[in-house]
């Protein structure tokens, strides 16, 4: 079994805003594209044009319907990838040391040349964030684009994960969650960012910003009508309205 580092210098991770994620899957495919061409073996696809296409993805978007006690049902889009946990059970379960957490930044990676494809880490991960590549026989997972974020061949502005760079609705943010003054930490503080499944004790680094309360206008409408004064009639019939208009125009 593999040891975690006692501490990491940074806690790099993602902050995902469930209030603005429209469920477009841009992050999913951008990730697929970058990581097929880059880090390690390509993300393969089995039966890609057939009855049961099934490929390796490091990031997926799930959609859940929520029925509040009162009001209309809602649909929440929920992107999910490795959360780069501080107490990553996928690392400690690895029999070969292939799974590891980086000291510099806390990124959890798989060293594919040491991976024997036993799949224990995928069993250990409570989030289902690891996928065995069927062609390579090696475990694949989110690398937080470790080959982008420090890459001197990329312009500085592009040194962020592919999913963050591509997200059209700006629902994905990248930074050091170990630094309370970082933009991402401030965002988490401001918006009440949450751990995913904290009861698992994995101490995930990635954070989720909850959706804002919805359908407030409908709820307000059912209670006191604070907006009613905005629709106070000036007249109830066309003739009266035109008299009102005449008077109003004089004031203009």
């Amino acid at each position: 079994m593999t040891q975690l580092p006692t501490r990491t210098e940074k806690k790099l991770g993602l902050v995902i805003d469930l209030d603005t994620c429209v469920g477009c899957h841009a992050c999913v495919i951008s990730c697929k594209g970058w990581n097929t061409e880059n880090y390690g073996a390509p993300l393969s696809d089995q039966d890609p044009y057939g009855a049961d296409p099934s490929g390796t993805f490091l990031n997926r978007v799930h959609s859940y319907e929520v029925q509040p006690e009162q009001g209309d049902a809602q649909l929440i889009h929920f992107p999910k990838s490795c959360l780069h946990c501080e107490d990553a059970p996928c690392v400690t379960v690895c029999p070969t040391g292939a799974s590891y957490k980086r000291v510099e930044d806390g990124i959890v990676l798989v060293n594919e040349s040491d991976c024997i494809g036993c799949g224990l880490c995928a069993w250990a991960c409570p989030y289902g964030a690891r996928e065995m590549d069927q062609a390579e026989g090696a475990m694949k997972k989110c690398t937080l684009c470790v080959d982008r974020i420090y890459n001197e061949n990329l312009p500085e502005v592009d040194r962020e994960p592919a999913c963050v760079r591509t997200c059209p609705s700006n629902a994905r943010h990248f930074g050091d969650l170990g630094d309370p003054n970082s933009d991402v930490s401030k965002l988490v503080a401001e918006r009440g960012g949450m751990d995913l499944m904290p009861e698992q004790g994995t101490k995930p680094v990635n954070q989720y910003l909850p959706p804002r309360l919805k359908d407030r206008l409908a709820q307000d409408a059912e209670q006191i009508d604070i907006l009613a004064p905005f629709l106070e009639p000036v007249a109830t019939e066309a003739k009266g309205f035109l008299n009102w208009l005449d008077k109003t125009l004089e004031k203009l």
Partner: protein, 946 residues
């Protein structure tokens, strides 16, 4: 194991070269960086695609489709060579031929048509982004039968916008994302204006602005909306008019805006006996007349210092002429539009309608603000600030694809205008070349002369019966019956009627159907099975009823099997294109912009960009636009056209880097032989910003008007008033009332009188035949798919490979259905048997599915047992292009009676639980077509570099 870290290369080489071009995975047209890497053989290959940060449309972001472009470019469904049909139509049996042979065949069909009767060619171009070019081919050929797919897409939205305010939603305008505080979107399918809307929503939600989604389905943008209004489909117009009722009644209108910038104060002829009854009073120069509030006198609206009076009437010769605003007050204050009167039909409580109207009023008037931009209006009045009204709207096909869609779209624009939120800070803004009034657009042309071009552009904006496309005997000049009494204002044509009309010989038979990027034997047609029959049916002599079909596509779509001659197109990374100001541009509200595509890789197949093929074919046919004076070919290929064509002196397909007196310049200018290189060096696009102070109030802003002339958008300033009152519609009503020489047929008189109201109305769509069918059935495309193209994409089809029929909880319970059960869904026209799935966030009387996931077996290089072909289905089988027969022997189109827009969303169905079909496949289950391409690989391990 103790902790051990391998040494990583944190700065691997990303690519050998980045080539910047324009995406074509949908109509959004984002800028992309195509990373090229050398493969082991040393050839540069496409390795990775990302958004271009400098590009005005997407500013670096890219959607799932865009990032999956690499799979589209390498799809096994790509056609590889010209082909001629060797089996029966619909079988999919072809023989590969050379381009020379393909051109010979096409020429042998088209030349005799042009020499005898050019109308026998119907040339329709689907999802074409080069309409200013393809229309030039059709015009030069001389056929009146040309259009693209607007008629079955969203012409109601485009036409209503342009007739009302000289610009429209979709790519012609955008909310002022930087200032808006309330954004209300109606009927926007998830795929539309893909990245800009997502970016905008992200931006305004980060600021705490409110998003209100009006849509029967709560997915996508509506899922993140702060408030969701799950309206009953087809009643948006009624809901909007009810909010207008509330706002007018409360005096919550921008009266200054209405008086200064709209026709609200323009006087309407009140003489019931006059042939001009209901038309606008005008002076001898045709200028609309108003009463000036300062002098009390009648005056043209645009004179210096004039303050148009919304209240004053004009009495002359015993007749009182009232302004438009009087008629609006009379119409919309009526209690028929009171929230209580409409609530049940709309499926929205009266209280909620009032709350929404009140919120619009609150934000528009209580949160208004001033921007410190000085500007001068067209009357010469100087303003020290610009007033902002931070309420913005966007709408799309959900409200327009109904037979009452045009009036609904007009109603929405009326709502925007009375709130004073168009072209102001915080509101909805036009993108150049808009604003542009309907009167500044061409009118339709249809005069056919053998061996000669058509007398002008095919499509345009009619302003009365004189502009209709009718032959001398009054019959329709066009095969799709666009611009006829059946749908007078059909600005984009009616592509969905072409095959049906050609088959019926109504209004006449054609000889050759020539189509591009239009999957008419599948998801782009109503009545898919019927259309397949029309394409394959033969007459008594054994000839096909539609004798010849030429089709161009890059992929093995369902339509390929139904064509006689195939011209294989390239992928979007292998071609030249221009995203032109003459066509559907990519401008921003603050900037004029256009872009190119260029071959970032050369095709490895015997294929050719369709537009380049038209350059060859046009020259072979001797079309004037495609030949030099000596008869030689004018444009070697599309790139040659893009650079060297001039539509008007100094105005070409591309506005960037034109040759000026002092070197290269944007806007107007002469041909620059290196223009494409200039574009490539700049990342594939050109952008030039509108000066501060000219960038709002554009229709009335003297600085903007002058800038637009300088840029070549207009040839002279074109200030105008918004048309709350659509005078062209009143002209058609007058004809229906018996005025004028051009008279509608009697069976259409009543409909024209009722539906062509010059002020927006709402009416229930034609429900004849719908007895017993009470549930509305809709489709939309997912954000990660576009039309039918997504299904061939190995990555995207893993996201959306199935399309169950989503049903609301109440209907699931009522019919004892569980997820995975099967149901028969029946319309007056047909039945499909499909798997169902529950969705709670849905209007309780609406069911829906993803459009165009369902595939024909054998198409798109998919296996015959792909879920798209076994479980997937099309709603199109339930929708007829005609309304049920009325017993009068006439063919009534299932279209908007004003514009001819296909009324996809008027579909009404009944549902019934049923057993899973014996073959466990959706019904109808069509037999496979032969695939004209090789079979696909069973595994992908895509990696170009080492």
């Amino acid at each position: 194991m103790t902790h051990k870290q391998p040494k990583l290369d944190l700065s691997p080489k990303v690519s050998d070269e980045i080539r910047k071009t324009t995406c074509y995975m949908c109509a959004c047209r984002c800028g992309i960086n195509v990373h090229m890497k050398k493969d082991p053989l040393g050839d540069l290959k496409v390795a990775y695609i990302e958004g271009n940060r400098d590009h005005p449309v997407n500013q670096g972001v890219l959607c799932a489709k865009g990032s999956a472009g690499i799979m589209q470019h390498n799809a096994p469904s790509r056609l590889s060579s010209p082909m001629k049909r060797v089996g029966k139509r619909g079988e999919g049996k072809f023989e590969h031929i050379s381009w020379d042979e393909a051109y010979d065949i096409a020429e042998s069909w088209l030349r005799p048509i042009r020499e005898s009767n050019p109308e026998k060619l119907a040339f329709f171009t689907g999802r074409d982004q080069s309409q200013s070019f393809t229309s030039m081919f059709a015009q030069s050929f001389g056929t009146p039968n040309y259009a693209a797919h607007g008629g079955f897409c969203s012409v109601n939205m485009a036409a209503a916008g342009i007739y009302t305010m000289g610009g429209a939603f979709w790519e012609f305008g955008q909310p002022d994302w930087d200032h808006t505080k309330l954004f209300m979107l109606f009927g926007v399918a998830e795929d539309h204006d893909s990245n800009p809307i997502k970016m905008g929503i992200g931006k305004i939600k980060a600021r705490g602005a409110r998003v209100i989604g009006v849509n029967p389905i709560r997915t996508g943008y509506n899922a993140v909306a702060d408030d969701w209004v799950g309206i009953t489909p087809g009643t948006d117009g009624l809901f909007i008019l009810s909010m207008i009722h509330c706002l007018m009644k409360a005096g919550k209108m921008d009266l200054n805006y209405l008086a200064q910038y709209t026709d609200a104060a323009v006087l309407i002829n009140g003489d019931e006996k006059s042939p001009e009854y209901g038309l606008k009073l005008r002076d001898e120069n045709g200028k609309e007349l108003v009463i000036d509030r300062t002098t009390g006198k009648l005056t043209p609206y645009d004179q210096k210092g004039v303050k148009p009076d919304l209240a004053a009437t004009h009495r002359e010769a015993g007749i009182t002429h009232r302004p438009v605003f009087h008629q609006m007050a009379e119409m919309y204050l009526d209690e028929q539009y009171a929230p209580e009167a409409v609530a049940e039909r709309c499926g929205i409580s009266a209280k909620r309608i009032r709350t929404l109207a009140a919120e619009l009023a609150r934000v528009a008037f209580e949160e208004s603000f001033e921007l410190a931009h000085e500007w001068t209006d067209f009357r010469g009045e100087h303003h020290t600030t610009m007033t902002g009204r931070p309420v913005s709207f966007h709408a799309m096909r959900g409200i327009s694809a109904h037979a009452n869609g045009f009036q609904t779209c007009r109603a929405l624009h009326t709502l925007q205008i009375i709130l004073g939120t168009v072209e102001v800070p915080g509101g909805f803004r036009f993108k150049p070349p808009y604003p542009k009034p309907a009167t500044a657009h061409p009118k339709p042309h249809c005069k056919v002369t053998p061996n000669a071009p058509l007398d002008g552009p095919h499509l345009g904006f009619v302003h009365g019966p004189d502009d209709l496309a009718l032959k001398d005997d009054g019959t329709p000049a066009r095969i799709d019956k666009a611009f006829t009494w059946e749908n007078p204002m059909s600005a984009h044509g009616l592509m969905h009627m072409v095959i049906s009309n050609a088959y019926a010989g109504d209004p006449y038979k054609i000889d050759t159907l020539f189509m591009y990027m239009a999957n008419m034997s599948w998801n782009s047609s109503m009545n898919t099975t019927g259309v397949q029959d029309m394409l394959t049916d033969t007459d008594e002599s054994g000839e096909y009823v539609i004798p010849r079909i030429i089709y161009s596509d890059a992929y093995s779509s369902e339509m390929v099997a139904y064509a006689d001659l195939i011209l294989p197109d390239t992928t979007y990374l292998e071609r030249h294109d221009c995203i032109s100001l003459l066509d559907r541009p990519i401008c921003e509200a603050d900037a004029v912009a256009d872009a190119i595509r260029w071959p970032v890789v050369e095709p490895d197949r015997n294929v050719k960009g369709f537009q380049s093929a038209l350059c060859d074919l046009g020259a072979r046919l001797g079309l004037p636009a495609f030949t030099n004076d000596d008869g030689s070919q004018k444009y070697a290929d599309y790139a040659d056209y893009i650079v060297n064509h001039e539509r008007r002196p100094g105005v070409g397909p591309l506005a960037g880097w034109r040759m000026g007196e002092n070197g290269l310049q944007g806007g107007r200018g002469g041909v620059n032989a290196s223009q494409l290189d200039n574009y490539i060096a700049n990342g594939g696009f050109y952008v030039e910003h509108i000066p501060d102070g000219a960038n709002y109030y554009k229709p009335w802003n003297a600085d903007y008007q002058d800038w637009a002339v300088k840029m070549g958008l207009y040839d002279s300033p074109q200030p105008y008033l918004f048309s709350l009152y659509a005078e062209p519609m009143r002209k058609f009503q007058l004809a229906a009332e018996g005025h004028g020489d051009r008279q509608p047929p009697d069976h259409l008189r009543q409909r024209i009188k009722e539906k062509m109201s010059p002020l927006p109305i709402w009416y229930e769509t034609d429900q004849q035949g719908n007895e017993g069918f009470t549930i509305t059935a809709l489709t939309q495309r997912p954000m990660a798919m576009y039309h039918s193209w997504g299904s061939q994409n190995a990555w995207l089809r893993q996201l959306h490979g199935r399309n169950p029929m989503y049903m609301p909880t109440n209907l699931m319970r009522e019919h004892d259905l569980k997820d995975g059960d099967w149901a028969e869904v029946t319309s007056p026209h047909g039945t499909i048997t499909v798997p169902v799935m529950e969705m709670a966030a849905l209007n309780p009387n609406t069911i829906w599915t993803w459009n165009a996931i369902g595939k024909r077996k054998g198409a798109w290089a998919l296996d015959k047992d792909a879920p798209e072909a076994t479980k997937g289905f099309l709603l199109n089988h339930l929708i007829h292009e005609l309304l049920p027969p009325k017993g009068d022997g006439l063919r009534w189109a299932n279209s908007d009676p004003i514009t001819g827009q296909a009324a996809w969303f008027d579909l009404k169905v009944a549902i019934k639980k049923t057993a899973q079909p014996a073959d466990a496949q959706s019904q109808p289950n069509m037999p496979p077509i032969n695939s004209p391409v090789a079979s696909a690989p069973d595994e992908l391990k895509w990696k170009v570099g080492k």
